[in-house]
C-alpha cells in the first residue's frame, strides 16, 4: 500500500489548456525556466515538503507578519498572510518588458496628474471628458494650481498585472494612492531564503533588498527646496490599520520615525514632530493615511488621524507628502480605460503594456453592451480598491445579475466592466489535498518615482487566489502570495 508520504506531490496535477499555466506548457512539459525548481520540488515527499512548509509559516509568525481584514472583524484581529513555497519565476527578458512598461505608465500618470491640477490641457483637448474628472470624488480642489516638490505625485505606484491565456501581460489596475504589499515581498523572500537556502543559491535571483534604500533616496530627492538633509518619517493611522506591520517594517528598514497624527503639529508654516528632545522639523512625510483623513481643517473634520494645517504647509512648499493627495483622480477605474491615450498624449509613445478592454457604464453604447452581456463580464465599482464590490458575471445567479443591473442603471458613473480575463495559473500547494494544484495568480509591481529617478522592485508580489476557481487574489478576499523570482536566463 502506498503511504501518503510516498505520493508524488504533482501526481494529480491537471493541466487546463484553456488557461495559461506558468509552470507547464500545453503539452504538459515543464517550461524551461521552471525545470530545475520543478525537479527539486518533485524530489520531495509529502512529509519533507510539509516540514519546510511549517518552517516557513513559523518564520512569518515569528516575524509578526500578519494582516487584518475589515470584513471579518473590526477589532483588528490579525492573521498570517498565506504563503506558498513554490516561487513564481519570471525570466529576465520578460521582466525587462514589464519594467519598461510600468515605468512608462507611471511616468505618464504623473504628468497627467500635474496637468489635471494645473493647465488641464488634456481636458481642453477633449481627449478625456472633463465631467469624468470633475465628478470624481478623488479630484481635490485643495491640489489645484499647485505643483509638489520635485514635480512628483505618484512616488509609489502599485501596478497590477495579469498574464492572459495568449501569454501576454495586461495591466489590470493602477494603484497610486499609497499602495501596500511591499513588506510581504521582502518578507516572502526572507522566508524563502531560509527555507530553501540551497536551491535559492543555485538560481541567480535578482535582489530586492535594496527597496528600502531606494525608497529613502526617492523621499530625499523630493525634499522641499533648500533642505539638504531632510528629516523623513512615516505616518500611520495606528496599530488597528490592516497594514500597520508594513508601516512599522518600512520605518525600521529605512531608519526613520514611525509617527501618528498626534505626534505632529503645525507651527509657523512648518510641520514639527514631538520628540523627547523637543520639537523637530519634518521635511518629507510618507503618509499611509488616506487623503480624507490627512487634515481635519480641509478634509474630514472628524479625523483624528491627520495633522490640522498640514495641507497649507504642503502648499507653501515646506513639506513633501508621499504620495501627493489627490492622486486618486488618476487611478479611478473609469480613468483606467484612458491610460493608453494618456501615455500617447504626454510621452508620444505607444503603450508597452496593454490594457484590458474596458466598458464604461456612463457611455451609452458601452452600457447597453454591459447590460446585455452581464454573464460574460466582470463589473467593478470605480472608486473601490482591495477587491471589494467586484461582480463576476459567469459566477452569478440570475437574481444576482438582475440586482447588479439595477445597481448599474442607478449609478452609471460608478461602474466599469471588463471581459472575464483568464488569469494565468501556477502550481500551488493546497493543504486540503496535500498536493500541488493550479491556482490563479496576478502580479503587483512596485514603481518608485523620485526627482529625476525611477526604480522598479525586481519581482513584486505574486498573489494567489487560494480557493479553487476563484479569480480574486486580494489578501482581503482570502488570497495568498508567492515569492517572485526574476532570473537571468
Amino acid at each position: 500500500m502506498k503511504t501518503a508520504s510516498a505520493k508524488d506531490l504533482f501526481e494529480n496535477y491537471e493541466i487546463d489548456i484553456e488557461k495559461f499555466d506558468e509552470v507547464y506548457d500545453t503539452n504538459g512539459e515543464v517550461r524551461k525556466a521552471y525545470k530545475s525548481i520543478h525537479k527539486y520540488l518533485s524530489s520531495l515527499d509529502l512529509d519533507g515538503f510539509k516540514r519546510y512548509n511549517e518552517a516557513a509559516k513559523l518564520s512569518f509568525l515569528i516575524q509578526g507578519i500578519t494582516f487584518a481584514t475589515y470584513n471579518e472583524n473590526n477589532q483588528g484581529i490579525e492573521r498570517i498572510f498565506p504563503f506558498d513555497l513554490f516561487p513564481r519565476i519570471i525570466p529576465k527578458n520578460e521582466w525587462k518588458h514589464i519594467e519598461d512598461g510600468v515605468i512608462q505608465r507611471n511616468t505618464a500618470i504623473n504628468l497627467f496628474l500635474e496637468d489635471l491640477y494645473n493647465d488641464k490641457k488634456i481636458l481642453k483637448s477633449g481627449l478625456i471628458p472633463h465631467e469624468l474628472i470633475f465628478s470624481s470624488g478623488n479630484y481635490l480642489k485643495q491640489m489645484l494650481d499647485f505643483v509638489p516638490p520635485g514635480r512628483i505625485y505618484n512616488h509609489i505606484s502599485g501596478t497590477d498585472l495579469i498574464k492572459h491565456k495568449d501569454g501576454n501581460y495586461y495591466v489590470l489596475e493602477d494603484n497610486v494612492r499609497c499602495p501596500s504589499g511591499v513588506s510581504y515581498v521582502l518578507s516572502n523572500r526572507e522566508a524563502m531564503k531560509k527555507t530553501f537556502s540551497n536551491m535559492y543559491k543555485k538560481f541567480k535571483v535578482a535582489l530586492i533588498t535594496d527597496y528600502a534604500e531606494k525608497l529613502f533616496e526617492c523621499m530625499q530627492s523630493v525634499a522641499p527646496e533648500g533642505v539638504d538633509e531632510p528629516v523623513c518619517a512615516i505616518l500611520t493611522p495606528g496599530i488597528f490599520n490592516s497594514a500597520y506591520f508594513e508601516h512599522a517594517f518600512l520605518a525600521q528598514s529605512m531608519g526613520v520615525e514611525l509617527v501618528e497624527g498626534r505626534d505632529l503639529f503645525v507651527e509657523n508654516g512648518f510641520v514639527y514632530m514631538k520628540t523627547v528632545y523637543g520639537k523637530q522639523k519634518l521635511d518629507v512625510l510618507y503618509r499611509r493615511v488616506d487623503d480624507d483623513f490627512m487634515d481635519p481643517l480641509v478634509f474630514n473634520p472628524e479625523s483624528a488621524l491627520g495633522v490640522p494645517g498640514i495641507m497649507s504647509v504642503y502648499r507653501e512648499g515646506n513639506i513633501s507628502l508621499i504620495n501627493a493627495p489627490g492622486t486618486g483622480a488618476a487611478d479611478d477605474k473609469a480613468i483606467y480605460a484612458y491610460v493608453p491615450d494618456i501615455i500617447k498624449y504626454y510621452l508620444d509613445e505607444d503603450p508597452i503594456l496593454s490594457n484590458v478592454q474596458t466598458y464604461r457604464c456612463d457611455k451609452e453604447d458601452d452600457c447597453k453592451y454591459v447590460l446585455e452581456n452581464m454573464d460574460q463580464l466582470v463589473l467593478k465599482p470605480v472608486d473601490q480598491s482591495g477587491g471589494y464590490g467586484i461582480f463576476i458575471g459567469n459566477k452569478a445567479t440570475k437574481e444576482e445579475i438582475e440586482e447588479m443591473k439595477q445597481k448599474v442603471l442607478h449609478d452609471k458613473r460608478s461602474y466599469v466592466a471588463q471581459p472575464i480575463m483568464s488569469l494565468s495559473v501556477h502550481s500551488t500547494f493546497i493543504e486540503e489535498t496535500n498536493c500541488f494544484e493550479p491556482r490563479h495568480i496576478d502580479l503587483r509591481t512596485f514603481t518608485l518615482l523620485g526627482k529625476d529617478k525611477s526604480f522598479v522592485l525586481k519581482g513584486g508580489l505574486s498573489r494567489v487566489a487560494l480557493r479553487k476557481g476563484n479569480l480574486i487574489v486580494n489578501s482581503s478576499q482570502g488570497g495568498g502570495s508567492k515569492d517572485t523570482w526574476v532570473i537571468q536566463n
Partner: protein, 281 residues
Amino acid sequence: MPTYKIRYETWNKYQNHVGESFFSFLVVPCGGDKQQLIKFKVENSLKEHSFFIKNHFGFNQLMIHSLKEFNELHLLMECEVKVLKINPFEFKGLSLPQENEILNSYEFKIDNHLFLVDTHYTDVHPDQISKEWRKTENETVFDFLLRINQKIHAEFEFKPDDTSLSQNAYSTMEKKKGVCQDFAHLFLGIVRANNIPGRYVSGYLNQGDEFTGSILMHAWIESLIPGVGWVGFDPTNNLVRDNHYIKVCHGTDYDDCSPIKGVLKTEGENETQYKVEVIQQ
C-alpha cells in the same frame, strides 16, 4: 476712497479642559481685489504666537497652535482697510452672442469648473428651478444676476432659523427664509444651475453711521461675467458690491470660508460668540 477700522472679537467657552488645540481664523481682510490692508493687530487670551498660512484659494488664514490647557479662548483682531471706489454699473459688457459663446466654450467650463459644480450647501433640486429662476435668451448675465439678486431679496424673509446652524439651498428655497449665508448659497445654486460660475464670499459690510452697534460677519456672492470679471452681488440687501463691502475670502461655499475652525483635544459642549464692528474713518 473710504478707510474702515474693523474689530473682530470672539469668545469660545468649553465645558471641559482643552488640551492641545489648533485654531484657524479667516477674519483678516484680503489684500488686492480693490482693497488694501493698511495695518492689523491680533491678540489671543492664550498669549500664543499666531501665524499666517495661505489656504488653497490663496487667502491668509490666521493660525494658532497651543499645548496649554484652557477653558476659554478670546481672540481680538483689529485692522484698517482702504477700499477703492467701486462703481459696479460702470463697465463695458460684451454683446449677448459674444457672452454666450464664452459661456458655452469648453475652455471657460474647464477653467471655472470649481465654481460651476454644486456643493452640499448650494445644491437645489431641478424641480425648484422654475422658469423665473432661468436666464432668458435676451438677458445678459449682468441683468440676470441683478434680477435674481432682487428676486431673492423681495421674496425671501430675513429670519434666523435657530433649529439648524446652516441650511442648504434646497431648504432655503422651501422655507423662503434664512440669513445672509443661506441667501448666498441659494444664489450660488441658481447661477450654477444656469451654467454661470459663482463663488461664496465672506467679509464685512459697513452698515453706515447709524449702525455702530454689534453686527455680524457678512456673506455675499461673486459671479463671473464673461469679458468683465468677478462681480459681487448681495441678495440680503439687494445691492451690487460697492465700497461698503470689505472682503476676507472666497470659496466654493461656506466650508471654504468659515471664520473659525478648531481642532481640539476636548470633550463636551462648547459655546462660541463673536462680535464685529466696522467704523468708517
